[in-house]
C-alpha cells in the first residue's frame, strides 16, 4: 500500500530525514518510535504533504501513485489521514460545516454523489458513538476551546468519518490521560480492517498497549535504525533510547 524508499527531507536547509525505507501492507499497524528530534513527526508531515518540508531525494508510492506529486488535499482524498499532534483551533469554522465540506470534497474526487444534510447527520451520529465524542463539541467552532483530550478525540472522530486507507497518528497519545487514551485507542481499533493500515508515531510505549503494532521501527537521526515486533517497544520502554544511540554510533565507528 505504502512504499517509502530512501526518503530524504529537509526544512529550511536542515536535513531531517536521511534515507527512510518503509513498506506497509493493508491490514498492518506500524509503530514509529524514537527519541525527540529523531524525525518522527517530520516523517508524518512529509507523508501528509506539509509544504515547509522539502523532499530532497527518494520516493513514496501510495496505492501505486507517486504520493509526493499530490497536493495535501489530494493525498487526503486518496485515503491518507494525518491525526495531528497539535490539532489547530479554527475560530468561526463550525466542526460540522468543516467536516461536511471535507466529506463531500473527498466524495467528489472519488466520483461519488455528495451526502445531503440528512445522510451526513446520520453518518456523524454513527461515528460519534465510536469515539464517545459529545455532540455539543461538534456544534462549536473547530477545536476552539477544546481540551487536549477533546482535540485528540476529534481527530479520531474525523478519521472515522473520512474512513482513510492509511492513518498516520502523530503522537496522538501526547497529553492524554489514561481514560482518554483508552477511548482514542478503542476508536482506532474499531476502525482497523484488513484493507487499511495505520502508522502510530509515538515516543512512549504506553499507547502500544492499546493499539498493538505488527511492526515497530526505531527512528534515529532521520533513519530507521532498528525494526522489530511489539517486543522491541517494550525493550525501549525498559531501557530507554540510549542503547540504540550507542548501537548506532558503535556501528558507525
Amino acid at each position: 500500500m505504502l512504499s517509502v524508499k530512501n526518503l530524504h527531507a529537509s526544512v529550511e536547509g536542515t536535513a531531517i530525514l536521511n534515507g527512510i525505507n518503509l513498506e506497509i501492507k493493508p491490514g498492518e499497524v506500524h509503530a514509529i518510535m524514537g527519541p525527540n528530534g529523531s524525525g518522527k513527526s517530520t516523517l508524518a508531515s512529509v507523508l501528509a504533504g506539509r509544504e515547509e518540508y522539502e523532499v530532497t531525494a527518494g520516493e513514496v508510492t501510495f496505492k501505486g501513485k507517486d504520493l509526493l506529486e499530490l497536493s495535501p488535499e489530494d493525498r487526503a482524498r486518496e485515503g491518507v489521514f494525518l491525526a495531528f499532534q497539535y490539532p489547530v483551533e479554527i475560530p468561526g469554522v463550525s466542526s460540522t460545516n468543516f467536516l461536511r465540506t471535507a466529506v463531500n470534497q473527498v466524495r467528489e474526487y472519488r466520483g461519488q454523489e455528495p451526502l445531503d444534510a440528512v445522510k451526513f447527520l446520520s453518518l456523524m451520529k454513527e461515528k460519534m458513538k465510536l469515539v464517545e465524542i459529545d455532540q455539543k463539541l461538534l456544534s462549536r467552532a473547530l477545536n476552539e476551546g477544546f481540551s487536549g483530550g477533546e482535540k485528540k478525540k476529534n481527530e479520531i472522530f474525523q478519521m472515522a468519518v473520512l474512513e482513510p486507507t492509511l492513518s498516520i497518528l502523530d503522537e496522538t497519545d501526547s497529553g492524554l490521560d489514561i481514560d482518554a487514551l483508552k477511548v482514542v485507542a478503542h476508536g482506532v481499533n474499531q476502525l482497523k480492517s484488513k484493507d487499511n493500515a495505520t502508522i502510530v508515531v509515538t515516543h512512549y510505549q504506553r499507547l502500544l498497549d492499546y493499539i498493538v503494532p505488527d511492526y515497530v521501527h526505531v527512528l534515529f537521526n532521520g533513519q530507521i535504525v532498528k525494526s522489530g515486533t511489539k517486543e522491541l517497544a517494550l525493550e525501549l520502554e525498559e531501557k530507554g533510547y540510549d542503547w540504540i544511540k550507542d548501537e548506532v554510533s558503535g556501528t558507525a565507528v
Binding site: F84, V88, P91, G92, T101, A102, Q105, V106
Partner: protein, 435 residues
C-alpha cells in the same frame, strides 16, 4: 507639499466659487454661512494633515471631480429594478433618496411608528438641532456638506415607538455630466424608550466618477436602542466621505456596523458621544478590499460619564494594491469612572502590495476603568490552511472557509436575517469559495 497645497486650494475653489453651495434654504442660511467661514479658515486636508495623512482624499477629489454640482434627480426611478432582489427580500420601510434628495413618493409611510420630514418643513426649534452633533469644525467635509446640502431628511422616532421592521434607507446615485457631487444629509431623532434598526445602502446606477459626502446625526434619547447597518458596495470610481455622529443618552444603546466592499476611496468618520451614565456604544466594521480600493475608518468614542461601555471590532481582508486605514480613538474623561472600553482591529493581507495603517489612540483620564485595545495584521494562518487541506478540502475552498470565518465575526453582529444573508452572499462571492 506645494503640490498638495495647490490642490487644496483647487478644491476650495471648486466648491466655494461654484454655485453649488448657493441654496435657497433660508432657515439654514446662518448655519451655512458659519460653515463657509469654517471651511475657508480650515481648508481641506492636505497630505500633511494628521487626520488625513494616510488618506489624501482631497487630492483624489481635486484630480477627478470637475463638476461640483449635484446631478439632476434620476428620472424613472420607480422603474429601476436594480437590487430589487435585496430590497424586496427585506420586509421593511423604504426611504428612497434620489441623487441626494429624498423622494417621498417612492418611500413607505411609517405606519405611525415614525415620521420622515424634509429639512425645509422643519419648525425653527427642529432646525436649531441640525449641525449640533456633527459640528462643522469637526471635519472640513462635514462643513462642506452643511454648506452644500440642498435638502435633508429628519427621521423622527417618537418616544416609546418600537419599530419591529427595519428602516431601509436607500441612496440611489447616478452621476452624469451635470454633476458628480452629492451631499446627503440625515438627522435621526430616536425618542425615549424607542427601538429601531436602520439599514443604509447605496445603489449606483452607473460607474461614473462621483463624490458622495454624507453627514448623519443621531440623537439617541434615554433607553433608546438603535442599530445602524451600512453597506458600502459601490464601484471603483466612487469617492466617499461619511461623517456620522451620535449623542447617546442614559441607558441607551447604539450599535453601528459598517461593511465596505467596493469603492474607489472611502473615509468613514464615526463618533459616538456617550453622554450619560449606563449607555453603550458598539462599533463594528468589515472591509474587504481589492484592486486599488482605499478604505479609512476613523472612529471616536467619547466616554463623558461613568458606567458606560463601548465595544469596537473592525476587521479587514486586503489584497492587490488595496489599502486599509483604521484609527480608533477612545477618550475617557476624568469623571467617567467604571468605564468599559474595548477595541480590536484585525487585518489579513493577502498580497505583498496591500497595506494597512492601524492606530489605536486611547486617552484615559479616569483611574477606575477597564480599557483594552489590540491590532493585528498578518497573513492567512498557514497551519490552519494545512489542517483543512489535510482533510481533503481544496486549497481555494480552505482559504475561503478561513477568510469567511474571519469575516463572520463581524457579519454576526447583523440581526436582520435577510440583510445578513445578503451580506453573507456578497462576502462569499468575494472570497471566491463555494463550499
Amino acid at each position: 507639499m506645494t503640490l498638495s497645497l495647490k490642490k487644496d486650494h483647487k478644491l476650495l475653489d471648486l466648491f466655494l466659487k461654484s454655485e453649488s453651495v448657493k441654496t435657497d434654504l433660508p432657515a439654514f442660511s446662518d448655519l451655512k454661512a458659519e460653515s463657509r467661514l469654517v471651511l475657508e479658515k480650515a481648508g481641506f486636508p492636505v497630505a500633511k494633515s494628521e487626520e488625513y495623512k494616510y488618506t489624501n482624499i482631497s487630492k483624489k477629489i481635486a484630480d477627478t471631480i470637475e463638476n461640483p454640482y449635484a446631478p439632476y434627480p434620476i428620472s424613472g426611478l420607480e422603474k429601476v429594478e436594480i437590487q430589487k432582489e435585496l430590497i424586496q427580500s427585506i420586509d421593511g420601510y423604504r426611504i428612497i433618496i434620489n441623487n441626494g434628495t429624498p423622494d417621498f413618493n417612492l418611500s413607505d409611510a411609517g405606519d405611525g411608528l415614525f415620521d420622515v420630514d424634509y429639512f425645509t418643513d422643519l419648525d425653527p426649534s427642529e432646525v436649531k438641532e441640525i449641525g449640533k452633533i456633527e459640528k462643522s469644525e469637526k471635519d472640513p467635509f462635514s462643513a462642506l456638506n452643511t454648506l452644500s446640502f440642498t435638502q435633508g431628511i429628519k427621521i423622527n422616532i417618537p418616544e416609546g415607538s418600537v419599530i419591529k421592521k427595519p428602516l431601509l434607507l436607500v441612496n440611489y446615485v447616478k452621476a452624469d455630466e451635470n454633476g458628480s457631487c452629492i451631499h446627503p444629509r440625515v438627522f435621526i431623532k430616536a425618542g425615549k424608550n424607542s427601538q429601531a434598526t436602520i439599514i443604509e445602502l447605496s445603489i449606483y446606477l452607473n460607474e461614473e466618477t462621483v463624490f458622495v459626502n454624507s453627514v448623519s446625526e443621531w440623537d439617541v434619547a434615554q433607553n433608546a436602542h438603535i442599530r445602524h447597518y451600512k453597506l458600502q458596495d459601490g464601484h471603483k470610481h466612487t469617492l466617499e466621505v461619511h461623517n456620522t455622529g451620535a449623542n447617546v443618552h442614559r441607558d441607551a444603546n447604539l450599535t453601528s456596523v459598517v461593511m465596505s466592499l467596493e469603492a474607489g476611496m472611502i473615509r468613514n468618520n464615526l463618533s459616538l458621544n456617550l453622554n450619560a451614565s449606563n449607555c453603550e456604544g458598539n462599533m463594528y466594521g468589515l472591509y474587504l478590499l481589492n484592486g486599488k480600493t482605499h478604505v479609512d475608518n476613523h472612529t471616536n468614542v467619547d466616554h463623558t460619564q461613568p458606567h458606560c461601555q463601548s465595544n469596537e471590532l473592525y476587521k479587514g481582508i486586503l489584497t492587490d494594491h488595496s489599502r486599509g486605514v483604521f484609527n480608533g480613538k477612545i477618550f475617557v474623561r476624568q469623571i467617567a469612572q467604571k468605564t468599559n472600553a474595548f477595541q480590536q482591529n484585525n487585518n489579513i493581507l493577502l498580497s505583498e502590495d496591500a497595506t494597512v495603517n492601524t492606530k489605536p489612540q486611547l486617552e484615559i483620564w479616569a483611574d477606575d476603568v477597564k480599557c483594552s485595545h489590540g491590532c493585528t495584521t498578518g497573513q492567512l494562518d498557514e497551519e490552519a490552511l494545512f489542517y483543512l487541506r489535510a482533510r481533503g478540502i481544496g486549497k481555494e475552498s480552505a482559504r475561503a472557509l478561513l477568510l469567511y470565518a474571519f469575516a463572520g465575526e463581524v457579519l454576526d453582529k447583523i440581526s436582520v436575517a435577510p440583510f445578513k444573508k445578503y451580506c453573507e452572499k456578497l462576502v462569499h462571492e468575494r472570497l471566491g469559495g463555494s463550499y
